[in-house]
C-alpha cells in the first residue's frame, strides 16, 4: 500500500508537467516559425556611395565647371525684393537681397475639394506651390466671383457678366495678382488670419497688405511652399 501511495504522486507530477512541456515546445516552435517568417524593420547607417558621371575628368576642368555652376545659380536667384510664403505656417515674408523687410501672418488655401453636384466638376482650393510673379497690382480690387463661389454657398451660378458676380469689398484695399486667378489681397475676416481658410489666394491684414503693395513692384517673384 505504501509503495502504491508513493508512486501515484510521481505519475500525477509527470502527467501535470507533460502537457506543460508540450505546450512550451509548441509555443516555442510557433514563435520560432513566426520569428523566421517575420521581417522587422532594421536600421543601418546611411552610407554614401559617391558616384560621378563619366563626364568628370574629361572636357573642361573641375574649377571651371564649379565657377560656371555657381555663376548660373547666382543668375537664377531673385534680385531685389521677393516674397516667400509658407503655406503650412501661414506666414508671408517680404525680403530684399536676403534681408527680411516684413514678416506677416497670412491665410492660405484649405486644400479642400468642391464638387459641382450638376456635372461633377471639381475645384481644389490649394495655394499653388512654386515660383510666381506679381503680374499686376490694383487698389480697391473688384472681385468677379467665379462659379465655385456660388456653388460653395449652395447657389446656382448666375450667367457670366451678371451684376451678381461683382463684389467690391471682399478683397480689401489692394490686390497683387500672381496669375491664374491667384491674388494676394485683404480680408473682411481678420480673425481667420493665420489659418488655412482660403480658396487658394493669400489673405493679409490691412497694414501688412499696404506695406507689401508699396514695396513689392511689378515683376516681384513670389515663392510659395
Amino acid at each position: 500500500m505504501l509503495g502504491v501511495q508513493v508512486e501515484r504522486p510521481r505519475r500525477r507530477w509527470v502527467w501535470l508537467v507533460l502537457p506543460g512541456l508540450v505546450a512550451v515546445l509548441v509555443l516555442s516552435g510557433g514563435c520560432l516559425g513566426l520569428l523566421r517568417a517575420g521581417r522587422p524593420l532594421v536600421a543601418t547607417r546611411f552610407e554614401l556611395t559617391p558616384v560621378l558621371s563619366g563626364s568628370f575628368g574629361s572636357g573642361i576642368g573641375v574649377e571651371k565647371r564649379a565657377a560656371r555652376a555657381e555663376a548660373e545659380l547666382r543668375r537664377l536667384a531673385p534680385r531685389g525684393a521677393y516674397i516667400v510664403i509658407d503655406t503650412y505656417r501661414n506666414r508671408l515674408h517680404l525680403l530684399e537681397d536676403g534681408k527680411v523687410l516684413r514678416s506677416a501672418i497670412c491665410s492660405t488655401g484649405t486644400g479642400r475639394v468642391l464638387r459641382d453636384p450638376r456635372n461633377g466638376r471639381e475645384w481644389v482650393f490649394d495655394t499653388p506651390m512654386g515660383e510666381r510673379i506679381i503680374e499686376n497690382k490694383r487698389k480697391d480690387p473688384p472681385w468677379a466671383k467665379p462659379d465655385w463661389a456660388f456653388i460653395e454657398e449652395g447657389y446656382l451660378p448666375p450667367p457670366p457678366g451678371s451684376p451678381e458676380r461683382w463684389d467690391n469689398v471682399s478683397l480689401g484695399d489692394y490686390g497683387l495678382y500672381m496669375g491664374d486667378g491667384y491674388i494676394i489681397h485683404g480680408t473682411l475676416f481678420k480673425s481667420l488670419l493665420g489659418r488655412r481658410v482660403t480658396h487658394g489666394c493669400v489673405r493679409l491684414g490691412d497694414e501688412d497688405l499696404e506695406f507689401v503693395y508699396k514695396n513689392a513692384p511689378l515683376g516681384t517673384r513670389v515663392y510659395l511652399y
Binding site: 556611395t49 545659380l73 453636384p117
Partner: protein, 229 residues
C-alpha cells in the same frame, strides 16, 4: 525659423567658400551643384537633402526658403532575423523624384447635394429645410477643421526607394527586434503582411514632419548632395 534658414545659408555659403579656396573644388560638390542647377532652372520648389550637414532644405532657384535640421538619417529595411541581406546604399549625388506622396491624397470633399437659385435683390431667402435627422442621431456636426498632417509617413520614389519621414525610429534593441519579428511573422501567417521598399529614413521633430507633409507630392524633386566636407 528665419534663424534656422540663416544658419543653413551660412553653412551653405561656408561650404562654397571652402570649396572656392586654394584647394581644388571637390568634384562631388561640383556635380551636386550642377545637378541642382538643372532643377533650379524650372520655376518649382525642390528639396535638397544634405546627409553631411544633416539638413533638408526647401529651395527654389538655388536659394534656401526654409531649412529642417535632421535628428538622424538611417537606412531602414525589412530584414529576416537570420540571414540578413542589407540593401546597398543609394548613390550620391542624385536626383530623386516623388512617385507617390502623402501630399496628393487625403483631401476633404465638399459637395452640396442641390443648388438653389440666387435670391433676387430685396427678396428674403427662404431658408432651406434640412432633412430630419434619423432617430437616435446626435447633434448635427459643425464643419470639420482641417486635420493635422501625420508625423510619420512614407513617400514612394521613382527609383524604387522610399523616404520615411518620422519623429522617431523604431526601437532597435535585440528584444525589440525579436518582438517586432514575431509580430510581423504573425501578420504574415494571417496573410496581412506587407513588403516595404527600403527607406531612407529622415528623423526630425514632429512639427517639422507635419510641415513638410504637403511638399511630398507627385513630381517633387529631391536633390541629394555630396562632397560638402
Amino acid at each position: 525659423m528665419l534663424r534656422l534658414v540663416l544658419a543653413c545659408i551660412c553653412t551653405s555659403v561656408l561650404t562654397g567658400v571652402v570649396g572656392a579656396g586654394n584647394e581644388p573644388p571637390n568634384p562631388l560638390h561640383v556635380a551636386s551643384r550642377e545637378l541642382e542647377l538643372s532643377v533650379a532652372k524650372k520655376a518649382e520648389i525642390y528639396l535638397l537633402l544634405s546627409p553631411e550637414r544633416r539638413a533638408l532644405e526647401v529651395r527654389a532657384r538655388g536659394i534656401t526658403l526654409d531649412c529642417v535640421s535632421l535628428g538622424g538619417i538611417e537606412l531602414l529595411s525589412q530584414q529576416r532575423m537570420i540571414g540578413r541581406s542589407l540593401p546597398s546604399a543609394p548613390s550620391v549625388p542624385a536626383r530623386w523624384v516623388v512617385k507617390e506622396g502623402p501630399g496628393d491624397a487625403d483631401r476633404e470633399v465638399i459637395a452640396p447635394e442641390v443648388l438653389r437659385p440666387m435670391p433676387k435683390e430685396g427678396e428674403e431667402e427662404e431658408e432651406p429645410v434640412p432633412n430630419p435627422a434619423p432617430a437616435g442621431a446626435g447633434p448635427t456636426p459643425t464643419p470639420t477643421p482641417i486635420p493635422e498632417p501625420p508625423v510619420s509617413y512614407r513617400v514612394t520614389l521613382e527609383n524604387g526607394w522610399d523616404i520615411w519621414i518620422t519623429d522617431r525610429l523604431p526601437q532597435q534593441g535585440f528584444l525589440h527586434l525579436i518582438g517586432a519579428a514575431i509580430q510581423d511573422g504573425w501578420r504574415r501567417w494571417r496573410g496581412q503582411g506587407t513588403d516595404l521598399a527600403p527607406a531612407v529614413t529622415l528623423v526630425m521633430t514632429a512639427e517639422d514632419a507635419r510641415r513638410l507633409h504637403h511638399l511630398f507630392r507627385t513630381g517633387t524633386t529631391i536633390i541629394v548632395t555630396a562632397g560638402e566636407h
